[in-house]
């Protein structure tokens, strides 16, 4: 029985939670596994299937890993047209899959790639798309509660999509824990119950409207995965030496506030905060960071927070477990030396 709502949509026709598994040349972005673990929690409540989507070329290993990490099924669009990533072929393929199979919920990592193509699915399907979500849940009717920071981060707004489907969200990397991979997870399926499903590729290279001329991706550290972080702000005034010395003593990754990135001292991929990344290290050392709310939003999942700032009234001290009023250029070498004396090198390696 079909019952259309005011928007002309029968929401009952739509089921399952889809998670987009983002990969580039076989390398899976960690947020994909974070979303798969979080999507599992949603399907445990709704009783639906958790479906992973993989788009790219030569995807057997990625598809297998998605099953081992909890997907009930994997939809695979495997074709050279999808490598490297481009918005138009990805959008067209994803849209075709959505229109044919009608998922209720679609979760996409809030990476540059995810944020780039999500609209090319949501616009033509007239789906609801919520950006930069940091908390998700479903109510008893399967209605997605997508929460995102608003007004600079001191408000969490719940965004609903009541009359349109699918309910799509791009989700910030680093906010959820990835699940463990279980090699036996796909045991028990029979040959008729094939879990990896190749889908028809609807995109033709001749119809594409963009062309990747060159792509250079180094092995830049992913600060969202770091256990220890030393972050610098405007207060270091471009003098990174002491911060790097401390980071080395702690075996930590270097990160930065927006101010330090805007000054060009640190690469944008290492920016923590609302317009940067969300991190969750066990130790976060903030050097010369004043503590704007946009920055706090990106680091408040950290374990122990240490702040060093010359201004005793800097808001960062309220968001730190331990702070010291002083110049980072004096504090860092002394702290590194003190830690070295305690022979922490063995502990941290």
């Amino acid at each position: 029985m079909s019952e259309q709502n005011d928007a002309g949509i029968d929401v009952e026709e739509y089921e399952d939670v889809w998670v987009f598994v983002e990969e580039h040349a076989g390398e899976v972005m960690p947020v994909s596994w974070e979303l798969l673990a979080e999507g599992k929690k949603l399907t445990e409540k709704t009783g639906e299937n958790l479906v992973a989507l993989v788009i790219g070329e030569d995807l057997e290993n990625v598809a297998e890993e998605a099953l081992e990490r909890g997907a009930d099924r994997v939809l695979v669009a495997d074709d050279p047209v999808f490598e490297p990533y481009r918005a138009d072929p990805y959008g067209a393929q994803f849209r075709a899959m959505v229109e044919e199979r009608k998922p209720s919920i679609v979760l996409i990592g809030g990476t540059h790639t995810g944020r780039d193509f999500a609209g090319r699915v949501a616009v033509p399907t007239h789906a609801g798309l919520t950006a930069d979500v940091t908390e998700i849940d479903v109510d008893d009717d399967g209605l997605l509660q997508a929460r995102r920071p608003a007004f600079g981060g001191d408000i969490l707004a719940t965004i609903l999509c009541e009359e349109h489907r699918p309910q799509m969200a791009t989700i910030r990397p680093g906010v959820f824990e990835p699940g463990e991979s279980d090699p036996d997870a796909d045991d028990g399926r029979t040959a008729d119950d094939e879990a990896i499903i190749p889908v028809d590729v609807v995109v033709d290279e001749a119809d594409t409207i963009s062309e990747v001329l060159e792509r250079e991706v180094g092995d830049t550290a992913d600060i969202t995965e770091a256990e220890r972080i030393v972050a610098v702000g405007a207060g270091v005034e471009g003098d990174l030496g002491p911060a790097i010395e401390l980071a080395e003593a702690l075996d930590a990754e270097l990160a930065a506030s927006r101010a330090a990135v805007d000054e060009g001292w640190v690469d944008g991929s290492r920016q923590v905060g609302q317009t940067g990344k969300t991190v969750r290290p066990e130790l976060y050392v903030a050097l010369g960071i004043s503590g704007a709310i946009q920055h706090i939003e990106g680091m408040n999942k950290s374990g122990t927070v240490i702040a060093v700032n010359t201004d005793p009234n800097a808001p960062i001290f309220e968001h730190a477990d331990y702070g010291i009023v002083g110049d980072f250029a004096d504090v860092c070498p002394e702290l590194a030396a003190t830690l070295a004396d305690r022979d922490l090198t063995e502990v941290v390696q």
Partner: protein, 258 residues
Amino acid sequence: MTWTIVVGVKQVPDAAEVGIDPDTGRLDRANAPAVMNPPDRDALEAALSIKDEVDARIVAMTMGPPMATPVLEEAIAMGCDDAVLITDRAFAGSDTWPTSLTLAKAAEKLGADIVLAGEETTDSSTGQVPPGIAAHNGWAQLTYVEAIEPRPEENRLVATRDVEGGYERVAADLPVVVAVAYGEFEPRPAGLHRKIYAENDFEPIEWTAEDLGIEDEVGLDVSPTSVGGMETVQPVERKGEVVEEIGDLADPITEVLS
């Protein structure tokens, strides 16, 4: 051939002036002055830098109430040739779907070869509108763009995009929607004569939803998403202990690392 470059600009509360309400401890935005979304200033600069190289006409557009006109005057002062105010009560409550539809229709009506915008706005920070414009019109898109190479002889635009852990160069067929990475295009100052012209003589074109033929496709009713509630974020409890000695900092660090 003259390229038409359309730049989307938005009026937002000045994030630098958003204060803390001393009574509630919450952000006080009501008293913050309205300014141009800072990433959109970079988009204007990107448009002007294209015009430095190729024959082009630049039109700024904004969707908002008439009081948003100062952002268009600012765009004119920086060097835009014309500006459009898209204003109508029918737009009230629009989420990113009808917003990007509106801007897509306006860009089409202006005959845009290139649409430029900042990567996101500082007030709602969804980043969804530029890809939404491209999707509504079936145009190419380039987001997180750090550098632009116009290729008029190929009727394409080549851009360097930031991708996580690196960069890529992508060529896109025109028309194309470009969202520039914030901080990559240093906006040029407005000239005094342009400023005087923008503030005294310039009047923007005004379009309503009906002018764009979308009066039934905008506003709250057609927006797929709605706000279900707002909660204040409880700050994470921290010890907030300020110590005097380095050793007192080293102790908790040692504990974490052990």
